[in-house]
Symmetry: C2
């Protein structure tokens, strides 16, 4: 929808003329994230600086029934920040301060537009550790991480974003400003509004301040890359490592294609891989006692040694560790640079990984698409990049969605679900009926309606079009 001139004037009065943009370039710029090639420009881009300004904007939007889409770092993979109904694009970029690193309580108070890596490095300087590390950590906003309940490689040992959020300052759709909980490690006081807000993809409120818990920083880690001659065996090894009593701090799976494409895409990294290697596990253990880590790494080597593997590569230096992580983090970008693609974020109980992988390949064969699979195998979280390559536009538009539907049906049959860490947003919403029946969806809609009776905040997300 277009924004009437008097509303534009009111927005300018709220945030200042300099922070309201209606030009095409800005609108286009704020009309996309990293989700495929979608662009949905908001009618107007507004950049508030305080919760009070957002409160005033929300009241205005409610009065005028104008959609408001919160926009963070625009690195999302499910289209949560796309202004699919136009309206106001609410860029959070000015909320970019680390308010307080509380070393006494091991907590941090942070605004939502702080880049995740900036936050991680700032607390690390004080000897503290914020574990969640999505691959986009160099550019994503911590507020987006909270909105999508982002994960990352360390989630397998340390949990996802939700496990670190203690309390949130939120502007509700009606403009009221609340805190969702308390700054405590435990809380049994009323309904858990904090965890309801985490992962709600900007549909229940606009996050303006985040209180997170931190851990003491671990001094040491060991990183190893294990090449498998069979991808299925790499998946099987994942559950075995846990059954041996080890909880690695990262346990990443990469299909051969993922690693090849990443090596081609990222400059200056070389790994020598035999032609018949099908997959790799990238495994990290961390802690304060090097002897313990050596012993754990040895035990892991014993476990993976029961499968058909080639020589394990141990990263000897910080540079080598960084190179391996850089390779892993760039898989999605590398695939994207090769072809139009769709990325799915399947998650299952980890023992089911081999079945999931085999099923995805069979479904690909049936519908004629190729997929590159990789991800946080320790969590059972497998990213599936479906590559367009030489497929016709027709097949891409009609066959691939059928295949995706079958992939999701498989994840749910394996007691998994649609998204482990990317969210549902815009691109997965029409698969929600696979994970949830009408009763469950009605409950979620009831919650949405309680928070946002006029449906103005980030409309067109999460819920299927036909529900």
């Amino acid at each position: 929808m277009n924004i009437p001139p008097h509303t534009v004037a009111q927005l300018e009065a709220i945030v200042g003329n300099a922070y309201v943009f209606a030009d095409d370039e800005t609108r286009r710029n704020y009309g996309h994230d990293e989700t495929e090639d979608y662009v949905f420009p908001p009618a107007i881009v507004v950049k508030p600086a305080t919760a009070q300004e957002i409160s005033a904007i929300m009241k205005l939007a409610n009065a005028g029934q104008i959609p408001v889409t919160p926009i963070g770092g625009r690195t999302g993979l499910s289209g949560g920040a796309l202004a699919i109904h136009g309206g106001i694009g609410l860029s959070m970029e000015r909320f970019n301060k680390i308010v307080e690193i509380d070393e006494r309580n091991l907590q941090v108070v942070v605004e939502p537009a702080v880049i995740t890596q900036v936050l991680r490095e700032a607390v690390a300087e004080k000897g503290l550790f914020y574990p969640p590390d999505p691959s986009s950590q160099g550019s994503c906003f911590i507020g987006g991480n909270v909105a999508e309940n982002a994960g990352g490689a360390r989630a397998v040992k340390y949990g996802v974003t939700k496990d670190y959020v203690l309390n949130l300052e939120v502007v509700l759709p009606n403009g009221e400003i609340i805190w969702t909980g308390a700054n405590t490690l435990k809380n049994s006081t009323g309904y858990n509004l904090t965890q309801l807000m985490v992962g709600s993809e900007g549909t229940l409120g606009v996050i303006t301040k985040i209180v997170m818990k931190l851990l003491p920083k671990n001094a040491h880690n060991i990183l190893m890359l294990v090449p498998f001659f069979e991808a299925k065996q790499a998946c099987e090894a994942v559950a075995e490592i846990f059954r041996a009593g080890i909880v690695p701090s990262a346990l990443e799976f990469m299909e051969r294609d993922a690693i090849d494409w990443a090596l081609e895409y990222v400059e200056g990294i070389s790994v020598d891989i035999k032609p018949d290697i099908q997959a790799h596990l990238l495994i990290e253990v961390d802690g304060n006692f090097p002897d313990v880590l050596f012993s754990e790494a040895e035990r892991i080597a014993d476990v993976v040694g029961q499968f058909r593997i080639d020589d394990i590569l141990f990263a000897d230096t910080e540079d080598q560790k960084n190179a391996l992580w850089k390779m892993r983090r760039n898989v999605a970008e590398a695939v994207k640079s090769n072809s139009v693609y769709k990325e799915e974020d399947t998650v299952v109980p980890r023992y089911e990984l081999p079945r999931l992988l085999a099923g995805i390949k069979a479904i690909g064969k049936k519908y004629g698409f190729r997929s590159v699979c990789y991800g946080h195998a320790g969590d059972g979280n497998l990213h599936v990049n479906i590559v367009k390559g030489n497929m016709t536009d027709d097949a891409w538009k009609t066959d691939v969605p059928k295949g995706i539907r079958e992939i999701f049906e498989l994840t749910v049959a394996l007691k998994g679900t649609l998204s482990g860490e990317h969210g549902i947003g815009y691109v997965q919403k029409n698969y929600m009926d696979i994970a949830f029946n009408p009763v469950q969806l009605a409950l979620m809609k009831g919650i949405k309606n309680t928070f946002d009776p006029n449906g103005i905040l980030n409309p067109g997300k999460i819920f299927p079009d036909q529900s």
Copy 2:
């Protein structure tokens, strides 16, 4: 309210004659938990065995506007299971099976009436670890733990019940049976109904099956008891231990009275304590590598050694460890055996503990009551047992609630809240206005209304009478 005869007949038809009770003894028996001396007998006690039976009961209750109160192990400390409006007491006791210990995925599927300790021991036999260990673990139900988001001594390192719940089968107030999520470690698929249900104290649905994650079991631990000459310093030492980079697996605080009363109450345990010792910390570290634990214990000894302490007692044998834990677990019972009392479950960021403790004592002095304080100091979770002793009934009824209100105002001012792990239930509900303003309470009520429009499930809990 009374239950009309035809409804009784319908209930008998649903669960069988043998599982419907209207006699005074049964009603009284199911009319209390461990909350002070409250007794609210339900009009009728029903003991269903399946989710389908509960579904039929909920439909009947909705049709007849009959209150339904889910009843678990009756060990609660906030009155969550009290049938304060009579109606149907829904005893969950027949849901007492461990459905599956899934060693491949490190998960367990369990029914709600399994006793927490039974669950912990069953998974331990398979080399697995379910960390939450409320003091009542020998008699509380795991379903009650989920409903109240129970904690325990190990929460400081391993988190509370919510951190282990992956998925819940729930009978909604309208009788529909749903699963709240998926059996996965990560999940960004729609609103987090699982975490909304955890800690909702039986007001949003009846939990009939629980999927929880487990950890590999740690092989070793070290337990030490540190006597402090000043209670305030014991509190201060808590934050210092974390700042030294150690995350103990338990870090419990006990005032002198707590330990004295417990030693008197529990038979066969003796600890030699100097007369001028004011408080103790009970500290545990755990892991798989004894050398690491020795080193951590040494570091802890260094930290606490900076304060005025007496000799540290290291528990040398399993028997000695069990004795110390038994002493700690029996503090509440010991206080209860001495006097009528009220137990509050305050929680603050851990560095604020000394201020909280000093404030509680000052408030006690002002209103003329004595308190015994102890609890999970590592989490900032301090239990405050207010002892009636020689107070007049009048002072107990009028002055003590004013003092409790001031204690809660203090916790909130310190960025803490009313309850860390016991829940709000019946006895704390009229203090909710201290933690939440009308906007927040209206949101929670909106959620309640979405789930339970007729307000029949566990009415009269959580929300203040005047809201």
